[in-house]
């Protein structure tokens, strides 16, 4: 078991052919069991990227399964899940065979009555990824939620790349936003512009990830990337998989430092953690989605005093906010891997106030781009 995961960790992403083969193996085993009068059972490994054991020597960082769930024909909810899983698997097989992509919503609509709700499909997709040991995009499944909510991530800066035939010459206008493609696997030729390019003399030096679009727009409007040699991206809130994969790809390709700018509130911190460690739902795929290199650039609880933010911009935390922070503080990875983050989170809780990045713009619009970010990056004020 351990070997299997160890191996996969360093192996390439599976090809559609591999996955189809795995699906067939799975099906064959199922039929074989049935024909031998054995009750079919589907064993699904369970992953988590953190636990709540504050002091223990947990193995959450190992990317190994933390347990296993076995779906049998003896529990009704198991059979229902089996039914859903097989239906989704059948759809996935078709997608892979026809080399098409389907959204989670599309899949839901294949059998709306049997699936009853979208989350049931989402879970089955996760289960299939674990079963077939692949990432979701390998299944040709994309996440267009309910058909509306998908927000493309935005990128700007000293960067040039292409997705299939589509070229993204961000570099030509570094302060113009580009939407990020869905199919990150088709992204090619990511490059910051090299010094020997005739028309450009500088190269990107770092990547800034901002929590939200409005801050991204602020930086764009302030021509931040014209003045700073960097790449800015935003996942517009919680980063979706393409966003995180794209960031992962950028870092793997360019080997640039990445800084994350989030609101000083529990959501901001959770978004930061999602970039850094991945999300719990996708823990099985965390190694492809997380960005351990990312640094927390701000905004820190202490910034409210350091930069004399207007007190109107500081909001008292709700009981709910505090509860969330208390829960996050118990996540094992914070203590183990980023104790400094954890300290700041504690400070946030102690102060009992939260504020948004925009609070930095309240006095002067250009403060964020002209002073805050350059001073932080140049001064190494990040953790």
């Amino acid at each position: 078991m351990e070997g299997k995961y160890q191996r996969r960790r360093f192996s390439r992403q599976p090809e559609p052919g591999d996955l189809l083969k795995r699906i067939r193996e799975f099906t064959r085993a199922l039929v074989e069991d049935l024909c031998n009068g054995r009750s079919p059972a589907i064993s699904i490994d369970r992953f988590s990227n953190y636990c709540m054991n504050s002091d223990s020597t947990c193995c959450c960082s190992s990317d190994l399964p933390k347990g296993r769930e076995i779906l049998t024909c003896q529990r009704e909810n198991h059979v229902h899940r089996m039914d859903v899983l097989l239906r989704v698997l059948l759809i996935v097989q078709k997608l892979l065979q026809e080399n098409k992509h389907g959204s989670k919503r599309d899949i839901y609509y294949m059998h709306p009555a049997a699936f009853s709700e979208q989350s049931v499909v989402d879970r089955a997709i996760n289960d299939i990824c674990i079963l077939l040991q692949c990432s979701r995009h390998n299944l040709n499944v994309v996440s267009v939620g309910n058909g509306y909510a998908s927000e493309l991530m935005l990128v700007m800066g000293w960067l040039r790349f292409s997705e299939s035939e589509k070229k993204f010459g961000c570099i030509n206008r570094p302060s113009t936003a580009y939407s990020i493609p869905v199919h990150v696997e088709e992204v090619k030729g990511i490059q910051t512009v090299k010094k020997h390019d005739l028309d450009v003399v500088s190269v990107a030096q770092y990547i800034i990830v901002v929590e939200k679009e409005s801050v991204f727009q602020r930086l764009a409007n302030d021509q931040f990337c014209n003045k700073n040699r960097c790449v800015v991206i935003t996942g517009r809130g919680y980063p979706d998989i393409p966003t995180r994969r794209f960031l992962r790809l950028l870092i793997d390709t360019l080997h640039l430092p990445a800084y994350c700018l989030v609101d000083c509130d529990p959501y901001g911190f959770d978004i930061l953690s999602t970039y850094r460690f991945g999300s719990m739902q996708m823990a099985y795929d965390a190694k492809f989605l997380r960005v351990p290199e990312i640094k927390w650039l701000g905004v820190f609880p202490s910034d409210s005093e350091k930069y004399c933010l207007p007190k109107q911009c500081l909001l008292p935390m709700t009981a709910e906010d505090k509860r969330k922070i208390e829960a996050m503080l118990r996540r094992c990875y914070l203590q183990r891997e980023v104790p400094k983050w954890r300290l700041e989170l504690e400070v946030m809780l102690q102060r009992g106030v939260k504020f948004e990045i925009e609070a930095l713009s309240a006095r002067a619009l250009s403060f964020l781009s002209a002073e805050y970010l350059p001073s932080k990056i140049q001064g190494g004020i990040y953790i």
């Binding site: 067939r24 099906t27 064959r28 039929v31 024909c35 933390k66 529990p266 739902q281």
Partner: protein, 454 residues
């Protein structure tokens, strides 16, 4: 032993005793019941005679009869006198006694009446007679119903005759014959349990033994009755001396549409209880046993239980009650399991029935996975698992075959002892993640963004 609270019960008891004597006899026996109503005065006078050709009586059975003093103390319709005439095979004479049943058991004495010689003829038999001031009607129906139930035991060696002579129409004489083993004869060697099964089948097929032959309009095919039986014995002592509880369960699947015999009420389940080869009301302990059976695991629900018998039981010891109860439960469960084992798809637990509901969908999907694959080699292997030889096997056939296999697995699972069932393997320690989910993240612009989408 039950406490008798009415002359009708007494007469049933006398019949039951006579039946036992017949059963114990090694020969074919005859049990004659005569109800002779005469109206010399205004008061009706009914002579009840229960005679049998079974083994002679030891008289204790009469001496020990327990009558409810409350019920009989002030009973004007009966003088309490029982005339018993009996002879064993080895007796030379036929002895007669008179017994005052209204006296309490410890004070009861037999008054010996003149004996009659047997003149060397070897026979045995007993007659018990009593006279009551009641009309014959209150007895006849009850006795008939009792005898119909007794037929369930299918004791082949006893023929029962009931003669009713009504006083109001002199010379009128109704005669009823009750013969077991009539329509579905069993070999003599059949066990009691087999007889019970067969008898109960007949009972159902003959609508509670009311008809003399199987009701063909209701029971067209033999499969309509599904029978299971179970036997539980006291394990500690040897089988012979211990209690033995035998249970037979019959499910008849007659829909109301096809049947014109059954009324809605007859759809109810009837519970018949025999104790020592005699029909009697179900004792509380057994009733509790029935209640404690996990009917749901057989896909059945326990409705309200009406105990129609009104006999008061003499309290047994607690240990005995417990024993009876356990045995009853065990026997019933064994009968249910037997029934389920013998009939596929019958008495599945509600749980399994639900799960089985997924079989068509599962089968369709699995068939889809096979049939839609573009790997014919893979398809071929699957077909061969399923027992198909050719390539060009139809999709419906594959699906149906898989469905059948899934159903059989589900049903098999259901038949396994429960123990292994509830421990569905779940090794994942999920409980440690009680962290509040950061679901309600409000983000400008995203209408219904949920972090679940990641």
């Amino acid at each position: 032993m039950n406490i008798i609270i009415s002359p009708q019960q007494l007469s049933l008891h006398l019949i039951s005793s006579a039946f036992q004597r017949c059963r114990l006899s090694e020969d074919l026996c005859k049990l004659s019941l005569t109800l002779r109503e005469s109206t010399p005065s205004d008061l009706p006078n009914l002579q009840i005679s229960v005679s049998d050709t079974g083994i002679g009586s030891s008289l204790e059975e009469f001496l020990d009869l327990k009558l409810s003093m409350e019920a009989f103390g002030a009973h004007q319709e009966w003088d309490g006198l029982l005339i018993v005439t009996t002879t064993s095979i080895c007796d030379d004479e036929i002895h007669s006694y008179r017994l005052g049943l209204k006296e309490c058991v410890s004070e009861r004495r037999l008054t010996r009446l003149p004996s009659r010689p047997k003149n060397g003829v070897k026979f045995s038999g007993t007659e018990a007679c009593l006279s009551v001031s009641e009309t014959v009607d209150v007895f006849v129906e009850e006795i008939k119903r009792f005898l119909q139930k007794m037929l369930i035991l299918k004791i082949p060696s006893v023929a029962i005759q009931l003669v009713v002579e009504r006083g109001d129409t002199p010379g009128s004489r109704d005669e009823y014959i009750f013969l077991a083993n009539e329509c579905n004869p069993l070999p003599f060697s059949a066990s009691n349990l087999e007889r019970l099964k067969s008898g109960l089948e007949d009972y159902v097929l003959k609508h509670g033994n009311i008809l003399s032959t199987q009701c063909h309009s209701c029971f067209l095919t033999p499969e309509t009755l599904k029978v299971g039986s179970g036997m539980a014995c006291q394990t500690e002592s040897s089988r012979n001396t211990g209690l033995v509880m035998e249970a037979v369960i019959i499910i008849s699947e007659i829909s109301e549409q096809t049947s014109n015999c059954f009324s809605a009420s007859s759809a109810k389940t009837e519970v018949l209880y025999f104790k020592e080869f005699s029909s009697c009301a179900i004792p509380q302990s057994s009733l509790n046993a029935l209640r404690s059976v996990d009917w749901r695991s057989y896909g059945l629900t326990l409705g309200s239980v009406e105990n129609q018998g009104s006999n008061v039981m003499i309290p047994s010891t607690r240990a005995k009650i417990q024993l009876e109860r356990n045995l009853t439960k065990k026997a019933v469960k064994l009968a249910l399991d037997d029934l389920r084992d013998k009939h596929a798809g019958v008495l599945l637990s509600a749980h399994a029935v639900k799960i089985r509901g997924y079989a068509p969908d599962l089968a369709k999907t699995i068939a889809g996975l096979i049939l839609s694959s573009n790997d014919s080699d893979f398809q071929q292997r699957c077909f061969s698992f399923l027992g198909f030889q050719s390539q060009g096997v139809g999709g419906e056939l594959v699906e149906a075959c898989i469905k059948e296999k899934i159903i059989s697995v589900i049903e098999m699972n259901d038949k396994k002892p429960h123990r292994s069932k509830d421990v569905a393997p779940f090794l994942f320690e999920d409980d440690s993640f009680q962290e509040p989910e950061l679901l309600d993240y409000e983000y400008e612009g995203a209408d219904d963004f949920s972090p679940m989408d990641i």
